[in-house]
Amino acid sequence: MTALQLCLVFSSALFCVGLVGALARSNTILVLLGIELMLNAANINFIAFWRFSPSPAPATGVMFVIFSIAVAAAEAAVGLALVIAVYRHQKNIRLQEANRLKG
Amino acid sequence: MSISDLSPLGAQGGSHVRAVHDEFHGDLLEVSMGPHHPSTHGVFRMIVTLDGETIVKLKPVFGYLHRNHEKLGENTSYLGSMPYTDRLDYLCSMTNNWAYAIAVEKLAGQPVPERAEYVRVILAEITRLLNHTCLAGFLMQDLGCSGTPLMYAFREREKILDLFESLSGSRMMCNYQRFGGCRVDPSADWLEGAKQLTDGYGQFLDEFEALLTGNEIIMARTQGTGVLSPELAVAAGVTGPMLRATGVNYDLRKTDAYGVYPRFDFRVPLGAHGDVYDRYMVRVLEMRESIKILQQALAGIPAGPIMDPKAKLRGFRPKAGEAYGRIEGPKGEIGFYLVSDGSPNPYRYRVRAPSFINLTILEDMCLGQTVADAVIILGSVDIVLGEVDR
């Protein structure tokens, strides 16, 4: 297996860990963290392809990751704010119980 | 419904508060501050219920230093209670002695020579300097100064304690006043020492204030913190600088005009907001007035006996009756209520301890404030646990 393939396997494994977490857990915070892991796995792909591409000059992968991290930070902030808002309304953060649109 | 609506009377018992907060707020955290918390001024304990850092309930617990003071007073001779009064408010033994002596003198109809009255005023005002300086130091320690103001305060306190020691033999437990005068006549050297202390104290206060009074952090921390309304203060029987910081003009030195105080020219500083900053500033200004009183008293002290020659030391049996003697102690009105049945021991002996009564409104001042504020509010009340728990 080449280094690139190793990186990609690593990234897909991380993606699946995040996916399983997001699907299997019912705690909203853990679901959010799972999604963060999936985003990180995607970033790993960008870096891996940039690192092993035949012509890495333009540093596009790095740019992508920088923007991706910024978006992930925004997502985490909004997501966790939502978690707190949900908690404020229904006194717990179990995903199944957050089933009302209003309030 | 806001936090301020949770009046201390409405929030009887934890269950009510908990019910309210389960609906509207996050979790409540119940913290037991004390009795071995670094800034509870001894062994005071506050059971504080917190919403985040905001206090929604505060239950003071005291009695860890209870020594049966009043019952002891009923089983000890009149003279024998004098050293015990030293140990009430162990920073201000001189004023405690004086208040007790006044009560007994009232009971027995014992006159006091003029020189002794002057010496008593001098010692009481020096005690006020001592107490207020220490309090400012402790308050700043509670505010988080790393000991600096406290050490300056203690440096000056040391000079005062040296004076006390050379006069009465002990630094803190002076046991100096007697019924009908004072135990020892202060020498000319001693009076000169007191004069030097008085003259130098203004300079120390200037430096102390330069360090603290204009400090933005201190102002931000203390202004608007722990506000006490004059109505509540009067209703709760709060006295002393605590009361005057709310703007109520009540100073026993003026209202009772006991001793030789009417002969001295001094003013009573009053606060306007009743917050921690006012309490601190009123004390600082009071110290400056005390210096004025001291200068006048030291200049005008007459010669003469220090003890009434007819005063009895031993076998002292006042006729049956009752008396309440009070003075303006540094912490507030310190009073002793005595009932005599003609025996060598008082039939009833009761202390009106200013720190204890000033402490009763702690919860009202702390509600809605943060933990950090609770500490400085407690500090600004100026308690000594020896007096609170008795």
Binding site: - | T76, S77, L79, G80, S81, M82, P83, Y84, D86, R87, T148, Y152, R155, E158, K159, D162, E165, S166, L167, S168, G169, S170, M173, N175, R183, V184, D185, S187, A188, D189, W190, E207, A210, L211, L212, T213, G214, N215, E216, I217, M219, M307, P309, K310, A311, K312, L313, R314, G315
Partner: protein, 230 residues
Amino acid sequence: MLGSGLIQGLAVTAKNLVGSFHDPARYTNVEYPEVKTKLPEAYRNFPFLVTESASDPMGTLRCVACQICEKECPPQCIYIEKSKDKKPDATGKMQLFPAVFDIDTSVCMSCQICVEVCPFDAIKMDQVFEVATTSRFEALLLNRNQLAKPNTYYHSIHPTEAAEVDGRLAAERKAAEEKAKAAAAAKAAAAAAPKSATAAASATPPSTTPTPKPPAAPSAEAPKPPTPAA
């Protein structure tokens, strides 16, 4: 402007930092075990019993076991047992003496009331303050052998007060001798009326005035062992 008060505070601390190196008014510390400040004359710690002679402390105790101090002591830390026999005191009068005189210094609160009420100047306040021991009970309970200290020691710690007391005692002794002479001449009865507490009280308070008052020796009344008040 924001920060001016802070800078003022910094200036004060800087002044103290520098001042502590050269200004003795700021740096008032004494490093205790090596350097000790002079104790003021009035300083008091625990009581001791005055004896007339250092060589025979038990024989020359001024204490006559009248038990007034035991009664007046607020924390009741004094325990006295009277002797069965009598021995002559300084004035040559036969007196009782304490067979047991214990002070529990773990209870004593150094209030000096025993000194004030003593009509015989027999108990005085000591200035020894380094009294830490390893044993909580035995070592803090002082018996009369440990408590007895000679008059010269009393002079060394409270010179003014001791001089006054000695003068008064000498005057009393003289008065007693004169009175005894007069009594012998007049063949009067020996018993005197129980003396009032007032005389003792006005005579006892020690004074630190630079000009000690001349001992007001009541020539009419020689101090007698007071009949303990009920």
